[in-house]
């Protein structure tokens, strides 16, 4: 009797599994649980410490190069780091080399500056999309206005208060690149090494291991990897957001898979030896 019941469970309609997964992933979006995330990786901690020690008023350049396909992992990272920069009263400049990221950038800056009373043009500036990153990176080494003479809204970049005293990499305290492409490698090779600017990165979980060598040689001052990196950064700046709810979802979903695999094996054992 039990055996028959179990066998039925064995061939459970997989739509129940789908439903479970959907609930487990969706619930934390509505209400983040804040499951313990006590481990903070060294690289995320380093990224945080570096940003935290920059003197207030310094200029930080964000290169946000991700499109909707890597949004779940990278958008929370960008949010958290921009928040941190505003919290520390740093000046923020944003560039991008991926056409698809312009929409995502405006999403960030529609929301975050308001929380810290920051004004476009005075505290931050968004530059228009440029396709050829190698040329732009080199140009910014001497005079960034050679390429970015206007900001995204067409205002003369030179006269913006936020750009006061900023001409090239020498006037920047940090470059942050958040990307799902190899553009971070270019920032390290073309800019970090050549012009002596510190570079911090944010990448997807899949490409994270590849940056080990750069971190070892300190060519990268810190690195956020995937949603976990975002969650870690959020907990460092004490502003739980999408990264935290994301890692909640992932935690539960992974747990669900493990429980499912275990149950199916336990049932298999019972059926076989009972």
């Amino acid at each position: 009797m039990l055996k028959e019941k179990l066998e039925k469970f064995f061939k459970i309609d997989r739509r129940w599994i789908f439903l479970l997964l959907a609930i487990v992933l969706f619930a934390p979006i509505m209400k983040p649980i804040g499951l313990p995330n006590k481990t903070i990786s060294r690289d995320a901690q380093n990224a945080y410490t570096f940003m935290d020690n920059i003197p207030a008023g310094s200029f930080v350049l964000f290169s946000l190069d991700y499109d909707p396909s890597t949004r779940p992992e990278l958008h929370p990272q960008a949010m958290a780091m921009v928040r941190h920069a505003f919290k520390r009263d740093l000046r923020v400049g944003v560039v991008t080399f991926i056409a698809g990221s312009t929409g995502l950038i405006s999403q960030i800056f529609a929301k975050v500056p308001g929380e810290y009373n920051k004004v476009n043009g005075t505290d931050y500036v968004i530059f228009p999309y440029q396709a050829n990153y190698a040329a732009v990176m080199t140009q910014m080494g001497s005079d960034l206005y050679g390429i970015y003479d206007k900001d995204q809204d067409g205002r003369d970049a030179r006269t913006l208060p936020v750009m006061k005293g900023v001409k090239n990499y020498k006037d920047m305290a940090l470059v942050v690149d958040i990307t799902g492409t190899s553009i971070l490698d270019q920032w390290v090779a073309f800019v970090g090494d050549k012009f002596n600017v510190p570079v911090v990165g944010g990448v997807t979980a899949i490409s994270q291991p590849g940056y080990g060598p750069y971190l070892q040689t300190k060519q990268l001052k810190g690195l956020l990897g995937g949603m976990k990196g975002a969650a870690e950064y959020e907990s460092l700046i004490k502003e739980p957001g999408k990264g935290t709810s994301g890692i909640d979802s992932l935690n539960l979903a992974h747990l669900l898979v493990l429980i499912l695999i275990m149950t199916s094996n336990i049932i298999l054992l019972i059926i076989r030896y009972l």
Partner: protein, 259 residues
Amino acid sequence: MELFANLWAWFSGLFVITPAWMTLGAWVAVGLTIFIFSFLYKDNPFFKIAEHLYLGAGMGWWFQVYLYSIFIPKVWDPLMAHQWGVIIPAVLGISLVTQFIPRISWMSRYGFTFMMGYGAGLAVPAGLSTDFIAQIGGTIEPLSRMASMTPFAIFNSLLVAFGVICVLFYFFFSVEHKGAVKKVSSIGIYFLMIYFGAAFGNTVMARFSLLYGRFDELYTYSGSNYFYATQVILISMVLYFVVHALANKGKKGTSEEAA
């Protein structure tokens, strides 16, 4: 003429992206997302609509990519500038289209033999260097630091080499797998199993992140500023399935179980 210009201006003015367009976009995106997900429950007309729309949209997307990144800049512009060199690939390309006319379809061979030759010529040396020589090198290279290695690291390097040899035994085709060969190749299978399991487990997180991303977007569009797009469409879908199930109640065999 002026009327025409005015009409055109009015027409293209309609397609300037306004906040209203953004809200409409949210409804479209939510609808299509839920239609595709509904396939997980069972096949239904809404999925079929999304599926066919996607067929067209996918081809349309690539068509404009090809048009604006190849046909215009790489074929049309050079021709206008009297660079006749592009005629060769264009003719090879057009030869492919002769497929539709059986009598001269042999012409398409010119096009695809070109592609085959190019592909094969690239594959040989690249395969030799990255997948053959470099993989042998990668297997033996760690042991060159023998003097400074821990016993565990030495064991690991030897294990990799041993595993590679066993797996290759598994792929031996001209030897019957029995006796010693069978033993070695079955050890190779264990290495394959570890790789398969690990690669599977490693991908799970990336896929969940994608799904989380979709759900997050659905959640965003469930807000009042989007007029509750997600809730409305989701509830209508559920209602449809309920009504459909009630209507088909008693008619056995018509239900399309997706399980």
